[in-house]
């Protein structure tokens, strides 16, 4: 160690001490200033951040699902509204004497044992103040039974929420769609806490899905002050929800329900369009599911029943069902022929068959119609007349008119999935199949078979355009009606002639006599159609064509009807399409259904009386038949009732993609089957590639 000359005496040491003490004091002062500065940084510069952190510690907001906006019909009648939902929850933190309270609740609410098990599980996992659901959709009696005994039930909270309600039930299912709990994927996409709030539902299909943004509204919040351990300290002011916006539809709710009932046991669809504006007054696809029961998730059994049904209740046939339009295209053919220069008086002699090349094309009337002019050919629905005329003119002159009246067209409607079919011509065939258009192609197309496919909405639009002479655009939302449609670029005399021909179908001894209106002074003009879904072999033809009643459901003909009324001054246009109807039951066939639906527009009481006469013959109204079907199905697939009682969301694929997949599959099979059976090359909608 080196001897230091600096500290040798006490005096020097004292000097060194006071210097170092001063340094120490300065250092301490520095630390003090640092601390004060740090504190100022936290409490001034970062004050806002820490304030909000402190608030989010303190206040726990439970979202209140917003009330969904109503869907109302053109007259203000609710199509989808909100029903008060009585529910009972438990606030775990306030629950005392758990076992006594739960057994009393089980008794008051008549809860099954497996529900009690779930409640026990939820309570074990629950955090303090977060409510645990005991039961929802309670009737008033059971809700009141709990409410009056609240003093004995600490921690039990009876609340009123809202549940979506569709007064029309299954009749509006494919119009409105339905609501359901959000999926985990939907939550992951947005991270919106509302999506995981108990009781919240969002649109899964139809208008509910398409108008989700408008209908949803802003959630309210119930704010409570909680401690770090989740203990509830005080209830703070509750922020009310902002309900979603009501949306007016062009639909007439009464007509919608009437048409749904009138379709009876058919697998079919009906559309009515206002001929002045293009507003859709009804849009029915039956059978359907009950959207009310879809809202809280349906049972596995219910789902299987709907999926297995050959009447495809999960598909909206109006926009997703594609059918060969059959003879309903003949008035449009007539218009095209007139525009192409065919004189209405030109006659064709129908002998019942026409040989083209090696093939023979038959008329639906075995012996033939004899000589027919254009009106007669439409009225009698003569195939030979159109075969021959279109063979002369070429189908390429028909196709543009078909498109102009709406076939193959896509319309701006708030629906996710629409299928828009095909209007074939030579260019289309060349592009799609790299093949030449043949005479046979043209003949098949001329009677609405072969490559031609359309959905019921397009057929209704066709009827409305022929009736009005204007290019009406269908609309569903009252705020988006396309008024001032352009006139069709065709001579009004030609259009008038076509209308007269359609009048003749119903009122002039034509094929649609059964559709004659019951309302005095109002005449309906229309066109019937039958679309074969199977090939009739020569052997069968020789032995006598099989009656539809002898065939399995999927082999029967589709039955179609398009029309408008009053015939002389069209106000309403319609289309009715019945899958595999086969014209087997008169009451359930297109002309009479079309007649009654149109009667409803002019004389509601008469239409209802007519329905009351026939409805019992097919097993009652929609709800009755659905309940009966379900009971039958349940009996056949006999699951024990306890398994049915459990309604869980996770096992049921009730979300939109599943429904879409199911409808898509149903559609494909149907389109393929239809074409295969009709003995022509399978043609699908424009966008889908053909499977070899």
């Amino acid at each position: 160690m080196r001897r230091s000359p600096r500290i040798v005496t006490e005096a020097m040491q004292a000097y060194s001490f006071s210097r170092r003490a001063w340094m120490l004091g300065a250092a301490q002062l520095g630390v003090g200033a640092l601390l004060a500065g740090r504190m100022a940084w936290l409490s001034i510069a970062e004050n806002a951040r820490y304030n909000s952190l402190s608030e989010s510690n303190r206040v726990n907001a439970t979202l209140i699902p917003p009330r969904r906006g109503w869907l109302i019909d053109r007259n203000g009648v609710p199509v989808a509204n909100n029903r008060t939902d009585f529910r009972v929850d438990i606030i775990p933190d306030r629950l005392r004497e758990k076992d006594r309270v739960l057994s009393l609740l089980a008794q008051l609410l008549q809860l099954p044992p497996d529900e009690m098990e779930r409640i026990h599980l939820d309570l074990d996992r629950a955090a303090g103040f977060q409510p645990v659901q005991v039961a929802e959709k309670l009737d008033w009696e059971r809700f009141a039974a709990v409410s009056v005994r609240l003093p004995e039930l600490p921690g039990v909270q009876p609340t009123r929420g809202f549940a979506r309600h569709y007064p029309g039930g299954a009749a509006v299912a494919h119009l409105t769609g339905y609501v359901g709990a959000p999926t985990a994927e939907q939550f992951k996409e947005t991270r919106d806490p509302l999506l995981v709030t108990p009781g919240f539902r969002l649109g899964k299909d139809g208008l509910e899905k398409a108008l989700e943004k408008r209908l949803r509204g802003q959630p309210g919040a119930k704010r409570v002050e909680v401690t770090a351990r989740g203990k509830l300290v005080a209830e703070l002011a509750t922020r009310p929800d902002v309900p979603g916006r009501n949306t007016r539809l062009t639909i007439d709710a009464g007509l919608q329900e009437y048409a749904a009932r009138r379709l009876g046991t058919n697998s079919g669809s009906a559309v009515v369009i206002d001929c002045r504006t293009g507003e859709m007054l009804c849009m029915v696809s039956m059978p359907a599911y009950d959207p009310n029961s879809f809202s809280d998730g349906i049972s596995h059994l219910e789902w299987e029943m709907l999926s297995a049904n050959d009447h495809v209740p999960l598909m909206n046939k109006v926009t997703q069902g594609l059918y060969p339009p059959g003879s309903t295209v003949k008035p449009m053919n007539a218009l095209a022929l007139l525009e192409a220069g065919v004189a209405p008086t030109d006659r064709i002699n129908c002998t019942g068959a026409l040989r083209v090349g090696t093939g023979v094309f038959h008329c639906h009337k075995r012996g033939g119609h004899g000589g027919l002019d254009m009106k007669g050919a439409v009225a009698q629905s003569c195939d030979i007349y159109f075969y021959e005329m279109i063979r002369r003119m070429g189908y390429d002159r028909i196709a543009p008119v078909a498109r102009a009246v709406g076939l193959g067209q896509k319309f701006e409607l708030p629906f996710g999935t629409q299928r828009y079919g095909t209007v074939p011509d030579s260019a289309w065939k060349l592009a799609k199949y790299k093949d030449r258009w043949t005479v046979a192609d043209g003949l098949n197309a001329s009677i609405g078979q072969g490559y031609v496919l359309a959905n019921p909405l397009q057929l209704a639009v066709m009827a409305s355009r022929l009736a009005s002479g204007r290019a009406l655009q269908p609309s569903l939302l009252a705020a988006q009606v396309h008024r001032d449609a352009d006139a069709l670029p065709y001579q009004s005399e030609h259009l008038q002639l076509v209308r007269e021909a359609m009048w003749g179908v119903v009122n002039g001894g034509g094929t649609g006599g059964a559709a004659r209106l019951l309302v005095p002074g109002v005449a309906i003009a229309g066109k019937t159609g039958t679309a074969q879904v199977r090939r009739i072999t020569m052997a069968e033809r020789r032995g006598g064509v099989l009656k539809n009643g002898q065939l399995p459901f999927k082999m029967r003909d589709h039955a179609l009807f398009v029309g408008f009324a009053p015939a002389d001054n069209p106000r309403y246009a319609m289309a009715v399409v019945l899958e595999h109807n086969g014209h087997t039951v008169r009451n359930l066939d297109t002309p009479m259904i079309g007649r009654d639906i149109m009667t409803y527009m002019f004389d509601r009481d008469r239409a209802l009386a007519s329905l009351a006469d026939v409805e019992p013959t097919w097993g009652g109204d929609i709800a009755t038949r659905m309940a009966a079907d379900e009971a039958t199905y349940r009996a056949e697939h006999n699951p024990p009732p306890t398994a049915v009682a459990t309604k869980t969301d996770d096992v049921v694929p009730s979300d939109a993609p599943a429904v879409e997949a199911a409808t898509d599959l149903a559609n494909r099979t149907q389109a393929a089957l239809a074409n295969e059976a009709a003995g022509v090359t399978p043609a699908e909608e424009g966008t889908t590639e053909r499977t070899p």
């Binding site: 160690m1 080196r2 001897r3 230091s4 600096r6 500290i7 040798v8 005496t9 006490e10 020097m12 040491q13 004292a14 060194s16 001490f17 006071s18 170092r20 003490a21 120490l24 004091g25 301490q28 002062l29 630390v31 003090g32 640092l34 601390l35 004060a36 740090r38 504190m39 100022a40 936290l42 409490s43 001034i44 970062e46 004050n47 951040r49 820490y50 304030n51 952190l53 402190s54 510690n57 303190r58 002050e225 909680v226 401690t227 770090a228 351990r229 300290v233």
Partner: protein, 369 residues
């Protein structure tokens, strides 16, 4: 002093520091009253009673002559080291860590007494050392042993905070005694190198965690980082003027852990804001400045080193605690003296103040002559 109005012995008390300490302690009781949800139980009342008893004891201690402290310094140190060993052995026997000795009527925590004792022992050592020896190796290693032995025992308990305070108190005395500055600079550098190594190899998991989380509290907001995060929220949300007396939500709703002990400053800051915090810091700085002034005025090496060392001990308490609650230091379990609920720190600080007042009394008697 206005001798005419007050009796001589009372007038001669060091009123400046007594009033400061009284103010701090009373404010502390107000905070504890609020922390208990507006009740003097369970903290404010017992803390207040204990404070006045201990303040009386400190004033009594102020009449003890400095030479008694001087003679007793090393024996007291020896007794405490033995107690620390005893605690350690008892802990081994009973299994698990133990920090106190149960004497039947009272539980003593010897490590707490070591904080002032190390100052006294080091001061006594340098007092005995001839001035010419100050810059030799012989002036360093005995002090290093004096500090290292109890520090090692305390850290083994394990009580990192107290161990650090013992080291800091001893090192301050060494610094004031005139040990070459380069040793401190070198020591500082060595610490900078060894701390990461120590963190990795010597510390317990929970201690290592506290340090890692101190560096990044948000990495574990619900675990060990919770203390720091919630404390910063309490201080930051208080703003300039605070949320108001009894209005703190972080403390009253139990989001702030240890809101009446180690994190009492956060409880206070939430309700009294930056203003309350700065006043409290100012009061503590004034107390410490008084201690340094006492040291400057003292005669004799022992008295000077002791006074400055004890003032620094109080400073370390306050400084480490405040850095901890503001997220500038890891959570090491050092309470805020006179404010935090708990007897140990209160007793230690008042013991320091008693010794300081005793030195002060001697200084003033000398000045009057």
């Amino acid at each position: 002093m206005s001798a005419s109005l007050l009796p001589e012995p009372i007038a001669r008390l060091p009123w400046r520091v007594i009033l400061l300490v009284l103010a701090i302690a009373c404010f502390g009781q107000v905070v504890l009253y609020s922390a208990a949800g507006g009740s003097v139980r369970p903290w404010a009342l017992s803390q207040g009673i204990r404070f006045f008893v201990l303040l009386g004891a400190a004033l009594t201690l102020s009449y003890v002559p400095t030479r008694i402290w001087k003679t007793g310094a090393l024996p007291a140190y020896a007794i405490i080291v033995v107690s620390l060993l005893a605690v350690e052995l008892l802990g081994k026997v009973s299994g698990g860590s133990q920090r106190w000795l149960d004497l039947g009527f009272i539980r003593l925590q010897p490590s707490e007494f070591m904080k002032p004792a190390i100052v006294l022992a080091c001061a006594r050592f340098y007092d005995l050392l001839p001035p010419g020896e100050t810059r030799r190796f012989g002036a360093i290693w005995p002090a290093a042993v004096l500090i290292g032995l109890p520090a090692a025992l305390v850290m083994a308990q394990p009580d990192l905070g107290t161990g650090l305070m013992i080291c800091a108190g001893g090192a301050t005395v060494m610094f004031l005694a005139g040990i070459p500055l380069r040793l401190f600079i070198g020591g500082g550098l060595a610490a900078a190198v060894s701390i990461p190594l120590a963190v990795n190899f010597l510390l317990h998991d929970y201690q290592r965690n506290r340090i890692l989380i101190f560096l990044d509290p948000e990495s574990d907001p619900l675990g060990t980082g919770y203390h720091i995060s919630q404390s910063k929220i309490a201080i930051g949300s208080g703003g300039v003027w605070g949320k108001g007396f009894m209005q703190g939500t972080q403390s009253h709703l139990d989001y702030l852990p240890e809101g009446h002990t180690d994190f009492v400053f956060a409880t206070m800051a939430e309700e009294w804001g930056l203003v309350g915090g700065c006043l409290l810091i100012l009061a503590f700085m004034l107390v410490i400045r008084w201690g340094i002034e006492v040291a400057q005025a003292s005669e004799g090496r022992f008295a000077r080193l002791t006074a400055a060392g004890l003032a620094s001990t109080i400073f370390f308490y306050v400084g480490i605690n405040l850095m901890m609650v503001m997220g500038l230091a890891p959570v090491v379990g050092i309470p805020l003296p006179l404010v935090s609920f708990g007897s140990s720190a209160q007793m230690t600080v008042l013991l320091c103040l008693g010794i300081l007042m005793s030195i002060d009394r001697e200084n003033r008697r000398r000045a009057r002559w």
